[in-house]
Amino acid sequence: MSEKGEVDLTGVKQNTGVWLVKVPKYLAQQWAKAPGRGEVGKIRICKKGNQGKPEVSFTLNEELTTIEGIEDKTVSAPRDHPFTMQSVGGQMLAVFTESSSDKLALEGVVVQRAECRPAVSESYMKLKRLQIEESSKPARLSQQLLKPVTTNYKPVAIHDYNREYERKKKEEGKRARSDKQQVLDMLFSAFEKHQYYNIKDLVDITKQPVTYLKEILRDIGIYNVKGTHKNTWELKPEYRHYQAEEKTDE
């Protein structure tokens, strides 16, 4: 168990710094489609001499600019994405990973935050417009039916139910009393599986008439008003051996 919760702190020890970049949805989708090794594009960092603010920009690979699901071929993802750099601002952001085997590791600390913005371009605008149109469609749609539905109404008798009823009657007839011993066997095996049973369930299982079954149950079991809604039957304590296999027969 000591393994389970243990967090691997190597990332922190090495002081690995990572960037936290906010990426637009469509770009993330494109990245998910990256083939092969997963190369999606190039990032360019331009440092202006010694004075600080480096300009970072990301260029999407050509092949990933096509967006699926949009018929209009002129609409494609823009390629150029400058990054807006932001500071972490005193807040401490760490990155931890959870592996599929439930191992936790602390990968590192965020040293830079950035936002990936698309460079404004014609294709981007079109893309956005499409997106907006999509999202503005209402989720629910009212549609008028040209032909009214006439199939479901007014049966004389409920046909399915009738069928089932007749079938039941044919099949089962009246339940016949089988031997007491057999019934007991059935009951005991049932009670091995579960402790509490409803009388109806027992009737289903044993296929005995209710009165006969109740008589038998009165012998070997107790009727439980358990405080819960159902009143259930359970075996008497002397008949109960849930751990051991032996049963005391009557």
């Binding site: 919760g5 702190l9 936290l20 990426v23 360019r44 960092i45 990155v95 959870e98 599986k193 049973y197």
Partner: protein, 531 residues
């Protein structure tokens, strides 16, 4: 990695890879800036999901699973759906908070709660730089905000609600937790223990008692530098005193202070009647009572500063009332000089008119000065409550004791009315002057009303001894310096048969004629004659 060497600025290019099949899910662990968490200082860390919510969600799973009824679960679910139309939320392990323990048992504890909505509209990626210079981007699966778990004790919901209700009254917040801790220790707190700590803490007035008796305003004001090392008896005494005062104050004061401790409000007026209570001195008479009261009143209501000061006010008044009925020696300087004066004079009952005069003087002075004056009550052995500390002390028991008190009062009130009609406000001297001026214009009228009078002196048909004559006035003025009010008092309307207005006019005329000398005594214009 290709690097383009620009002319001035340097540009480097890196490839970005998004690895496809990562078994690891990346998450963000966000800490509050104020917590000043330094990950590198962690030696070891353990983190697990907080599964405490599972009980709530998965209650159905526990009963009767091994030995349960067969068809129970399905039926229950169906029934629930049909009845309530509720779909119970699943217990998702993914969404449960994390519990992070750093540096073992003695270290810090954090709870990380998942932040919703992070991945809805935009994705976060973690860019790490690989040894080969390329960037690898991993999508962030979830964002957890980690907050430090308090190791100190906090109030439960009920206690917090209670304290919230008392928030305006409680000043010393430290003692709240202290109370709770001590309560948990079994409820047998030592006074010393507790008050010691209380004393060491805020010395502001209004240390809250919580369940227990504590310092009073008394302590805080007068013995503010004392620690609770002062004896318990004293504490108890002073507390009891304040309690008593409060009790009286409550009984008397109109405004009801609602406290949840009913013990205070149950006390009646008569409970404290026989007590001689002194604010500051340490009288033994009150010692025994507090000792008894202390255990009975197990919980003292908390008092804030305002309350304390109010109680101080009330108690002061109560005490004043008591004292004037009983003792005089314990007067404090808190009373205004007028009151003191009044009391001293009153208590020497059966004295000369001067006492009455001063009483009435006080009354009429207040009337003249247009001060708010509650009508003098008829106390049963006590002074009237309700008077504020502004200095106007209306009638006191000693007045009632005098037989002429009622008449005096009536006279004074009538006088006051009369004077009010004549002048708006003012001190004695302007009053006197106006009296002289105005009646002169009005004199024909009243004189017309009354029986014809000789110009020199006015003798009116009267059935009593005192008559408003010049001689009478002269006699008085020779004997001792008097203000106009005093003079007026001498010539009471019931005795002279004149109305107050008439009296005033006549007196004014007499004074004009006599032209007495003036002297300022106690800021009041007194007239006197020397012959």
């Amino acid at each position: 990695m290709t690097s383009l060497s620009g002319s001035g600025p340097s540009t480097t290019e890196y490839t970005v890879r998004v690895p496809k099949n990562t078994s690891k899910k990346y998450n963000i662990m966000a800490f509050n800036a104020g917590d000043r968490v330094n990950c590198s200082s962690w030696t070891q860390a353990r983190m697990e999901r907080d599964m405490s919510a599972r009980r709530i969600y998965g209650e159905e799973e526990t009963p009767e699973s091994g030995a349960g009824s067969e068809f129970g679960k399905k039926q229950r679910e169906e029934a629930r759906r049909k009845k309530f139309g509720i779909v119970t939320r699943e217990f998702k392990v993914e969404d449960q908070p994390w519990i992070l323990k750093v540096n073992g048992k003695a270290g810090k504890r954090f709870k990380g709660i998942k932040k919703g909505g992070v991945t809805e509209n935009a994705s976060y990626y973690i860019f790490t730089q690989c040894p080969d210079g390329a960037f690898e981007a991993f999508p962030v699966h979830g964002w957890y905000n980690f907050t430090q778990q308090a190791k100190h004790r906090t109030l439960t919901a009920e206690e917090a609600e209670e304290e919230w209700g008392r928030r305006n009254k409680v000043v010393n917040h430290f003692s709240i937790m202290l109370q709770r801790r001590l309560r948990e220790q079994g409820g047998c707190e030592d006074d010393e223990d507790e008050t010691e700590k209380g004393g060491k803490k805020k010395k502001k007035g209004g240390q809250k008692g919580g369940d227990l008796r504590l310092h009073d305003l008394d302590d805080d004001l007068e013995m503010s530098s004392d620690d609770s090392d002062s004896s318990m008896g004293e504490d108890g005494e002073s507390k009891a005193k304040a309690k008593k005062d409060l009790g009286k104050g409550k009984a008397k004061k109109k405004k009801q202070k609602s406290h949840d401790k009913e013990a205070i409000e149950e006390s009646d007026d008569g409970d404290y009647e026989g007590l001689e209570v002194d604010y500051m001195s340490e009288e033994s008479s009150s010692d025994e009572e507090p000792a008894n009261e202390k255990p009975s009143k197990a919980e003292e209501h908390p008092k804030g500063i305002d309350e304390m000061s109010e109680s101080e006010e009330e108690s002061e008044e109560e005490k004043q009332n008591e004292e004037e009925a009983k003792e005089e020696e314990e007067e404090e300087g808190k009373k205004t000089p007028v009151q003191v004066e009044n009391k001293k004079k009153k208590d020497s009952s059966g004295e000369s008119d001067s006492s009455d005069d001063s009483d009435i003087e006080g009354e009429t002075a207040s009337a003249l000065f247009m001060k708010k004056r509650t009508p003098p009550k008829r106390p049963g052995g006590r002074g009237s409550a309700g008077s504020s500390r502004t200095g106007s002390r209306p009638g006191t028991p000693s007045i009632d004791s005098a037989s002429t008190s009622s008449t005096l009062r009536a006279a004074a009130s009538k006088l006051e009315q009369g004077k009010r009609q004549i002048q708006a406000a003012g001190t004695d001297s302007p009053a006197a002057k106006r009296l002289k001026m105005e009646p002169s214009s009005q004199s024909p009228v009243p004189s017309g009303k009354s029986t014809p009078q000789p110009p020199s002196g006015k003798s009116t048909p009267s059935s009593s001894d005192v008559q408003l004559t010049e001689d009478a006035v002269r006699r008085y003025l020779i004997r001792k310096p008097m203000t106009t009010k005093d003079l007026l008092k001498k010539f009471q309307t019931k005795r002279t048969g004149l109305s107050s207005e008439q009296t005033v006019n006549v007196l004014a005329q007499i004074l004009k004629r006599l032209n007495p000398e003036r002297k300022m005594v106690n800021d009041k214009m007194h007239f006197y004659l020397t012959e």
